[in-house]
């Protein structure tokens, strides 16, 4: 394996391929500001839940930095995300629309985001990726376990690269996001990948 591009992002700092990028504001507003400054051409972004916005913005920054034509249909790239809280932020928001019997208006637009894998679908749609999309939930950030999962996902012979994400979001003002573009070919083994993930996580 080889790590082609990497990004780490918390409410306090954003770093892309080792360079620090400026962020403005906090919470979801920080994601909106980044979208407006760095993306700007995908209004569906504003319909996404917190997890979707986080994963989308991070993937945009990362993929913009890849020296490759974008939006070309391809099946050889997977989107493989994981976290601890699944879609908990969206789950809580949806629960609010049904918990009061006198104000019971279940919202389909909120409900659809109560599936954590929606963010991987959003990225596949944006980038025309027909490859694998998957979401796994772990008990905690565990670099060895994530690296094992990534190494295992390369057993699909079609998959040549993976957009790997730890996209953890426990409420609207707290998140941890590590995102890597990992290619099949390269010297890095899964322990090396785990060590990199560990280093990135520690510096979040």
């Amino acid at each position: 394996m080889r790590i082609k591009k990497w990004l780490s992002f918390s409410p306090d700092s954003l770093s892309l391929n080792g360079e620090t990028l400026g962020v403005v504001g906090g919470g979801v507003e920080m994601l909106h500001e980044l979208y407006r400054r760095k993306v700007g051409d995908y209004p569906k972004f504003f319909k996404m839940d917190m997890l979707g916005k986080l994963g989308f913005v991070a993937s945009e920054l990362l993929l913009q930095s890849e020296d490759a034509p974008r939006f070309v249909p391809r099946e050889d790239r997977s989107v493989v995300f994981c976290n601890r809280s699944a879609s908990l932020v969206a789950d809580r928001r949806y629960q609010e629309t049904i918990s009061d019997a006198d104000n019971y208006y279940p919202s389909p637009a909120l409900f659809v985001y109560t599936l954590p894998n929606i963010v991987t679908g959003e990225i596949a749609i944006r980038n025309k990726y027909y490859g694998e999309t998957s979401f796994v939930v772990l008990e905690k950030f565990d670099p060895e376990q994530i690296a094992m999962h990534v190494a295992a996902a390369f057993q699909d012979p079609v998959c040549q690269s993976q957009l790997v994400g730890w996209t953890e979001c426990s409420d609207e003002s707290h998140w941890q996001c590590l995102m890597l573009l990992v290619e099949r070919e390269g010297e890095l083994d899964r322990h090396g990948l785990a060590a990199t993930l560990e280093r990135m996580f520690t510096s979040l």
Binding site: A86, S99, A101, T114, T120, T133, V137, E139, A152, D156
Partner: protein, 386 residues
């Protein structure tokens, strides 16, 4: 698939409102029974709905007899199905060579409802809940919880295959489960996806899906060879439509690509059937008819099992795989309950009645929100999957 590795099924179990055990469930399906019932006012959901739910009293009594009160209902069904599957697997679940892979879409989401009490809020976290189940069996490894919408049950099996083929573990316990709640029913109602009568997969008069509760478990092992009567999970693929987060692709793009990937080099004439997702929503079934036809499988029998169990979400991929294996063992292509007149643009080989078969392989197909699709090829004896 690795040159010298076969992923062999050691044992399985299904726990559903139709019965406790694979055999009980298979016989119920063979006899054409369904657990779908109409519920009015349940969980304060204003509109009536049709679903396949466990009987609450009987369920509580069974769990209490097993001393499972400290587990949520979702965890209870997992513990019960895993325990039963392990009984026939002869695997020491406490070994570090065994990994647990779970499949669920909403797990303990009912704990977000303030009317539900008695469990720590932390258990709404799938990893925490899964660890509790692993601990019941003394398993030391970090569990993997696949939460990939309605295709989770196949994704969990594919993850298990990869972890075994990659040599990370020797055995995998794959368990899928979902329990219904106001949260899930109201959400599907808001999507206008529920039928107010028992669902009718692929039928011209289909009106939508029914939700269901169930748990199912398969224990897999990595072996060099499989015996002729053993089931082998040959090849799996997950592909995205890259089209829309809730509506399936009109061209069946992701399902077609997943089918193409798992059937590469395989003679489709060896397939007993394709066990489809067949939710009985207008768009899903239509999409599958397109994808199956595009993949060159128009002549292969197709069936769907949602008419018996409803859509059991995270359990569906595991439960429907087990019943498909059991049907092939019985040389039977199960009929599609609720199907009468073809209501999809590409006529598939669907029947309401069971038919006989002498084939020894099948494909399980699923698709879900987020544009995800999965296909998995199974064959008996493994000789067919090279």
């Amino acid at each position: 698939m690795g040159d010298d590795a076969m992923i062999v099924k050691l044992s399985d179990h299904i726990l559903s409102p139709l019965g406790d055990g694979t055999e009980a469930n298979y016989m119920a399906v063979r006899e054409g029974r369904s657990a779908l019932k109409r519920y009015s006012g349940k969980w304060h959901v204003p509109e009536p709905f049709v679903a396949s739910l466990f009987d609450e009293e009987a369920f509580a009594a069974e769990s209490s007899a097993l001393h499972l009160e400290s587990y949520t209902p979702f965890e209870q069904v997992l513990v019960r199905t895993i325990r039963a599957a392990l009984e026939n697997a002869h695997v020491d679940a406490a070994s570090s060579k065994v990994v647990f892979v779970f499949s669920t879409t909403k797990g303990n989401v009912c704990l977000l409802d303030e009317h539900v009490s008695g469990f720590p809020q932390e258990r709404v976290l799938l990893g925490v809940s899964a660890r509790k189940v692993c601990a019941h069996f003394g398993n030391p490894n970090p569990p993997v919880v696949v939460s990939n919408a309605c295709i989770s049950g196949l994704c969990a099996q594919i993850e298990a295959m990869r972890l075994l083929e990659g040599g990370f573990y020797d055995y995998a316990v794959v368990a899928g489960a979902d329990m219904q709640s106001q949260f899930i029913v109201s959400g599907f109602q808001s999507f206008k996806a529920l039928s107010d009568e028992p669902c009718r997969p692929f039928d011209a008069a289909r009106k939508g899906l029914n939700l269901g509760e169930a748990a199912a478990c398969i224990v897999y092992a990595r072996r060099e060879k499989a015996q002729p009567e053993e089931w082998v999970a040959c090849r799996g693929a997950i592909r995205n439509d890259a089209n829309h987060i809730s509506g399936p692709s009109r061209e069946g793009e992701g399902s077609y690509r997943a089918l193409k990937a798992v059937l590469a080099g395989f003679d489709a004439g060896e397939l007993a059937f394709v066990n489809a997702h067949g939710t009985a929503t207008a768009y899903n079934d239509e999409m599958e008819s397109v994808a199956i036809t595009r993949a060159g499988l128009a002549e292969v029998p197709v069936n769907g099992l949602k008419g018996h169990f409803g859509h059991t979400m995270g359990a569906a991929g595991v439960l429907e795989t087990i019943l498909s294996m059991r049907a092939v063992d019985d040389r039977c292509v199960l009929g599609t309950k609720g199907f009468e007149h073809c209501g999809v643009s590409h006529p598939l080989r669907l029947t309401a009645q069971h038919q006989s078969t002498d084939k020894r392989a099948f494909v399980k197909l699923l698709s879900g929100f987020g544009g995800c699709n999965a296909a998995l090829l199974f064959a008996k004896g493994g000789g067919l999957c090279v």
